[in-house]
Assembly symmetry: C2
Homo-oligomer: 215 residues x 2
Amino acid sequence: MARGRPQDPDKQLATKQALCQAARELLELKPYRSITIRELAHHAGTQSAMVSYYFGSKEGLFIELLEQSGNRRQQKMMMVAQQVLAQPNQALTLLVDNLIELMASEPWVVKLLQDEILSQESKLRDGFLSAIPQRLKTALSALLGQLQQQGILRADLNLDFTVATLMSNILFPMLTEPLMSHVLGIQRNTLRSEAWKQHLTQVLTQGLSPAGAAQ
Amino acid sequence: MARGRPQDPDKQLATKQALCQAARELLELKPYRSITIRELAHHAGTQSAMVSYYFGSKEGLFIELLEQSGNRRQQKMMMVAQQVLAQPNQALTLLVDNLIELMASEPWVVKLLQDEILSQESKLRDGFLSAIPQRLKTALSALLGQLQQQGILRADLNLDFTVATLMSNILFPMLTEPLMSHVLGIQRNTLRSEAWKQHLTQVLTQGLSPAGAAQ
């Protein structure tokens, strides 16, 4: 192993980044379980041995990818929270817009959720859950709790249920793309349109009933 | 093939039903693609040749299963629609309760959606979509349109978006069970609890904001 190991730190970083980039690109073409170490190395222009040298295993490389994405998302969520708390009367509009962008920005994360987390007991499951949804849950719960204290959200809301509701409304249509497009004519780009964002904001703000109606 | 073919119509029906029952039971244990014709026949107490005799193929047997479920659901939705139109002021409560029961009643349908429809181009996709969500969409759109005309639902709602919203809120938590349980502590039985049904009804009726608030 020692022979092919690159010594130059810049080159090491470049190789690691090329492997991460290759992993992201290959995930858009095929499922995680079909991607081989050989393909990853070839796609990144390096040798297969570099995958285990830098990441321990193929799994380790993808966990690293998830951690990087989790960090970016966490930073983004901190900015969103600041923005929302600065304009609490626009809270749900801002949350819908930003969560849609956040969840749609990396289609490979949604694919991994479909392929590895929902349909089987994958080795990636724990790493996925702690890197992405667990951190989103922590950030959202804190923000929703503050909005609840300010009277922007109903006092009787269960916060875990409310996080589930936000995820349901925003993520379900992205996750069930064949169902949305074939059955409802709602395409991937519809889910980033103003009409869809406005629909979700209104549902989350006032529900489906006319203003002032009560059940 | 002709030799083993049962001639008695009652026995024929019993064999077909046993194979359908075996298919449902095996789906709760393993993914569609891992189920073999041999296992289906063994589980149903018949010979492998009966699968192709009655259903043409393994795929044909599962399509039949989906059609049967689609028929039951369609009948159920007709009853739900009658009930809702008889008590329009309880429309969203009744819809939430009944849609939760409908979607939770056959866990194998949710598993099939996860395993075959969302994560790959399965041969079952078209059969699945036309048997289950397409018919649900037709029934729901008609009902929601009537409720809209009666002023129970907002006049500005896009009906396709509204069907997507109902499916999102009810089906997403069932579909993402590992995420819900590990990250939010929301278990499968929580999703049939009164607290959860009440949460969803309130969200769909008045949103997340306090009554009377506008954004």
